[in-house]
Amino acid sequence: MNQAEVIAKLQTIFDTVFLEPVVLTPAISAKDVPEWDSLTHISLMVSVEKAFGVRFRVGEVENSKNIGEFADLIIKRKLEP
């Protein structure tokens, strides 16, 4: 899976979680999306981990500055045995 494919799949998750449509780009981040608060974030991460079958390590999600970096993190975790 490359970054674009991951973002495409993330888009479907975001479409479910958020009522107002959000068009994901690598540069977009939580502060650009009004509905993306700390509460929604918890739910979003549960959905992403289930959808991709990955488990992030403690604290690493908050180090991703935008969707692009977040997608790269998903790829990195997916590549782990």
């Binding site: 979680v17 700390s38 509460l39 918890i42 739910s43 403690v58 908050e62």
Partner: protein, 622 residues
Amino acid sequence: MDAGEIKKLLLSNDPEFWSCLKTLTGSARDFEELFLLSSLRKKAHARKLENPNVTAKKIRLAIVGGYSLYPLHELIEHLCEVDGLPVELWQGDYDNYISEIMDDDSELYTFTPHVVFILPAERRCTYTGHLTDPRELQQAEAQRAVDSILELARKVNEKTRAEVITTNFMLPARHDLGAFRSRTLGSDWSFRKWVNLELGLNAPSFLNICDWEFLANRLGGIAARDERSWFESKQPCSSALLVELAREAANLIAALKRAPKKVLVLDLDNTLWGGVLADDGLEGIELGDTSPRGEAFKAFQKYIASLKQRGVLLAVCSKNDLAKAQEPFQKHPEMVLRLDDIVSFKANWEPKSENIRAMAPELNLGLDSFVFVDDNPAEIEIVRQFAPEVTTILLGPDPSDYVTQLADCRLFEPRNITAEDAERTNQYRSDAQRKALEATVTDMASYLESLEMESVMSEFVPVDVPRLSQLINKSNQFNLTTHRRSEAEVIAVMNDKNFAGFSVRLKDRFGDHGLISIIIGEKVGDTMKIDTWLMSCRVLKRGVEKEVLNELARLAKLKNCTRLEGVYLPTSKNEMVRDFYGKMGFTLTAESETKREFELKLENFQPATTKIKIVRRAYEPS
């Protein structure tokens, strides 16, 4: 119905949104699913799309505790509101609950809550000393942990008169300490178990326990925890358990505001027994130990009987002819429920919704106290539509799940302790003392006496045929001749005047053993030949065999016989009864490798006395 459809309803400001939200919320199991529904609910409020069915005054709910209370508060608020009990929330700060409660001027008290939900910090419920410290020391610390929670609850209640709910503690789910874990009160495992028990047993009536230990156990100890979410955002447990915790809290809050259900209305065919009474007949319905399905239906009846014991009223609503429908309650030997267990019995061809409506004034109860159980979706639908106040339960396709469905329905849970309960407790105590006394009795006769055994002897009757044949074909050890017989052959014996067959049922104060012995005698001239004598080994040494011989002798005399003839046919499994006839006072008359023959002259026969009360004898009017 799914997330996409409900979003459309929301975006078109359709009030249908709310009933749809309720349905989806009821079935949502995953955290993210429930969370999404809650977000949609908040959006609906923001769009001024209001729920037409919510008119109740808001419950002022305060949540405090040793964890981050986000997003738990969100889930609780959602579940309460969707259930028709909207709440106004106040949350304490992370791990600030002790000062929030102890400080008289805290915001908690200016909020004037109706209900306060406390989640005491797990990490404070741990023994601080050494694992091998004296038990007294460990116990004293555990007691202090209990007392501190009770003290917080008392303080809240005194200040606010609010109902208080507190969680207890999850148990560890890791192997740490190994087998030593349960040998010391110093382990978190034992310490928390002790605290949970003491907390529950000593909770005053204003305090409700949200049993987190139970919830975690039900979900699975490992699935209950998520260490990462603790480090990242001080979450109390895994998101999966958070859903269950929120549901439990919402359930407890609803229970404070609503009366429990009082009446369980039961369908009959394929609900209380398998099959259709009108088609299969009294003998044909599946009920009791003859088949796995029959056992499942009987277990369901036993569970229903236990609800009755808790105070739930039982009623029947069936599409049947009344006399026919009542027959199993009067005549079927495997029925647990009897006519006098049923407070209202409606069997007719009117719609079930009308029948249940008629019950309400009869029992002087509101329709909202009724729960209706049926295996037929069409009947459930009629009641839903035409008696919507009634709660309905559609039983699934497998009767082995029936008990589970009722046991998880959460409609008949007892509330806090009343004075009446306390009185009953006293009665139980004196009962227990009496039983303890009995337990000290050591000789066999007193033991048998204390069992309070009762037996029913019955000629073969059609309704027993499946059980008779089944026991005849599976009984091996206590079986003198091992003559097998099909149901048709049992029926042939039943209808032949030369045969005297009877069955024996036994119950004692611990329960009903059911049909445990079968005897078939055949009159040949002046002799009663014992064709079959078998018994379940569960009731050995109770005196049943003596009563059977008494009965056999009585029947033989009635048929003008002067002697009994018994035969032992050895098999690989019935060695235990090789000398049975000898011990019962018979004389050995012939012996070979394949056969031992005995006789008993009846002229001098004296019936033996036992500790069994014979309630009914065979071939006599009951």
